[in-house]
């Protein structure tokens, strides 16, 4: 037993590092967030009050931070008719749309790379990742230049005589979706590629041999076998899109407030840290649920 214990400190250290990382940079901030979400708004000096009331000596949890997300106190229209719920729904909807768009564009992309000659694959993958070398903000800004009323695309359309005056593209849902799809596409392509490249293409031959047309073989063999890649790519796009703040702010319309923007406003405009925290906690819940579904799916593979 003594001998077995000898290498343990080193091993503990190696295994411990990720845990320490998670505790310090994920667990602690989350607990702080959770704490703030249950206290009262503060003043100019401290943005929130302590949870412990010194005068009464009582612990005071302010559930109101959460209730106000779900219930509109002002006009009494009842549950779920709040700007917050609307913003959540909108965020989920656009995150879903983005994930679907990324899947539709990314799947043929990944399939093409996976089926190309092994010697050209690194170059093709490089092209997928190349945009990461430029600043994220610059890339999003570039879309402004393309989609603006006097932008490249409108000028091209007018030059071709397809339209006489500029089409409003910037600051709409379309421009926001274009931006998000563009930015998150690699997150779909990479896991899908990793999955498809492992696929045994003889299975497709077997399907052809048994009478499946190329399309049927794709649908009955390739798609089911790439399910894990589809789910992984979908989650990798959906989750960050849900809380996306920068792209909707730069490319989206003013009327379509997403939840990231709402949290920002509560935090920095209304200075209501507790409510901003409560909104963030609820959003984490929204992310954990699809993740749980994902793990349920991948758990099945065994």
């Amino acid at each position: 037993m003594m001998k077995l214990n000898l290498p343990m400190p080193g091993r503990r250290f190696v295994i411990g590092v990720p845990y320490v990382w998670l505790v310090v940079f994920f667990m602690l901030p989350f607990l702080i967030l959770l704490y703030i979400s249950f206290v009262d708004m503060g003043n100019d000096i401290s943005p929130f009050k302590p949870i412990w009331n010194h005068e009464t000596g009582l612990l005071k949890l302010k559930y109101e931070n959460y209730w106000s997300i779900f219930r509109n106190a002002q006009d009494g229209t009842g549950l779920f008719h709040t700007i917050y719920i609307e913003a959540y729904m909108r965020s989920i909807w656009y995150a879903l749309c983005t994930a679907v768009l990324c899947l539709v564009i990314g799947y043929p992309f990944s399939y093409f790379i996976a089926r190309s000659a092994p010697s050209v694959r690194p170059a093709l993958l490089m092209m997928v990742m190349l945009p990461f070398w430029t600043s994220f903000l610059l890339r999003v800004y570039a879309w402004k230049g393309i989609l603006a009323d006097q932008g490249v695309l409108n000028q091209l359309l007018m030059a071709l005589g397809l339209t006489s005056e500029p089409i409003q593209m910037l600051y709409t849902n379309v421009s926001m979706l274009v931006g998000m799809t563009y930015v998150y596409l690699p997150f779909m392509v990479l896991p899908l590629y990793a999955n498809l490249v492992k696929m045994d293409f003889r299975l497709l031959e077997a399907a052809h041999d048994l009478g499946a047309s190329p399309f049927r073989a794709f649908w009955l063999v390739t798609v089911p076998l790439s399910k894990a890649g589809i789910v992984a790519g979908f989650m990798l796009v959906f989750i960050p899109c849900l809380g996306e703040f920068v792209i909707p702010s730069l490319l989206g319309g003013p009327e379509n407030i997403m939840i990231g923007r709402v949290v920002w406003d509560e935090m920095f405009t209304s200075n209501n840290w507790p409510r901003a925290s409560a909104l963030a906690v609820v959003m984490i819940g929204l992310i954990v649920i699809p993740l749980a579904i994902y793990y349920h799916f991948t758990g099945d593979e065994k």
Partner: protein, 366 residues
């Protein structure tokens, strides 16, 4: 199955050629396969046998030539339009489908009624004795069971031709021997015409009715296992099928019923004519088991030579001796191990006599 007058040449390839860039993979192959026959394409890797099979299946397009099934050209049909089904090397079972679904895959593509599919899959599961495993996934089965699923899947659609690509290649030796007979039994029960590809001559000899020996894209000989073994057409076939001792020499006597060849170890008598020119270079092939080895001089007057035992290998059922002949050539001789103790007391460095009857040798011109 209406075949018209095509029973003996049911599946025919005519001058079939496949060229990959500059490399000639299959070179003008003419084959004629009878209905219900098990036909093996035998050759070492890279000989073009797999490419030939893939052309039959439709995965490769012939560069030129025709593939005729019952007189009709099928070379232009896509794999999913051909009445050919293939059992893939390492099976290519669909990992996401259970055994039942794997076997039903082809039937569903035909748009059969649900009950018909159920019945047919049931029959197939019975045939390969896997009914209790219907709901398992392929990875939950042993190699031999997977092999049977692959067979059932390829037979489910009642193909006109069954293609087997190294059907036993993924099994270990013991299982392979068992499975060979099982496989042949099932194929014969179904009565399907079968083309198999293998690099294993033993597999080809036990399973196939006829064998095509291939090398460098060409078919060198087509014949029954006995024919290719006993009467190889050329040096390559003789050497490829089983073990052989080749003696190079020139034709010295050529009569209709016998001939003789002058070789480095002396004159060798052969019990068949070759109708060739005298003094033409030929080789004589003699199988190791057809040579007798003795310590005492046997009472024979031809094909008797002497040598020194250099190596002895014990294989259980037989012994192999490597004997160095007078000219330095190493000759392989095998003796069946019929008695338990008596290894005919021949040992290393013994001077021995060896001989074979004039019916044992075969003259090879190519």
């Amino acid at each position: 199955m209406a075949t018209g007058g095509f029973k003996d040449n049911y599946l025919v390839t005519e001058k079939l050629v496949k060229r990959f860039d500059e490399a000639l993979a299959v070179d003008e192959v003419d084959l004629s396969i009878a209905q219900g026959e098990i036909f093996a394409l035998l050759g070492s890797s890279g000989c073009g046998k797999s490419t030939l099979l893939r052309m039959l299946a439709g995965f490769e397009k012939p560069t030129s030539g025709r593939i005729l099934l019952g007189g009709k050209d099928v070379a232009s049909l896509a794999p999913y339009e051909r009445p050919f089904n293939m059992m893939f090397q390492s099976y290519a079972l669909f990992p996401h489908l259970d055994i039942w679904e794997n076997i039903a895959f082809g039937l569903k593509r035909e748009g059969l009624a649900k009950e018909d599919i159920k019945e047919r899959v049931g029959e197939m599961l019975d045939l390969v004795q896997l009914t209790p495993y219907a709901k398992r996934k392929p990875h939950q089965l042993s190699g031999g069971q997977q092999q049977r699923v692959a067979l059932a899947r390829s037979l489910a659609k009642k193909p006109k031709v069954l293609l087997l690509d190294e059907p036993l290649g993924a099994l270990d030796k013991k299982l392979r021997e068992q499975t060979q007979f099982e496989l042949v039994n099932i194929i014969e029960k179904v009565g399907v015409t079968c083309v198999m590809v293998t690099h294993d001559q033993e597999e080809a000899m036990t399973m196939a009715g006829r064998i095509a020996v291939m090398s460098k894209g060409r078919v060198l000989q087509v014949g029954s296992p006995e024919e290719v073994y006993e009467h190889p057409a050329n040096r390559f076939v003789a050497d490829f099928i089983g073990n052989v001792n080749l003696f190079e020499g020139v034709l010295s006597v050529d009569k209709p019923d016998r001939c003789a060849v002058q070789t480095a170890i002396g004159e060798i008598q052969v019990g068949h004519g070759v109708s060739g020119a005298l003094n033409m270079p030929v080789a004589i092939a003699v199988r190791p088991e057809k040579i007798e080895i003795h310590k005492e001089r046997p009472a024979v007057d031809h094909n008797l030579f002497t040598g020194k035992v250099k190596e002895i290998a014990y294989f259980g059922s037989y012994n192999t001796f490597i004997v160095q002949a007078s000219d330095g050539k190493r000759i392989k001789i095998t003796e069946a191990n019929t008695s338990r103790h008596d290894l005919s007391d021949i040992t290393w460095e013994d001077d021995v006599f060896f001989w074979w009857s004039d019916a044992a040798g075969v003259v090879l011109r190519d």
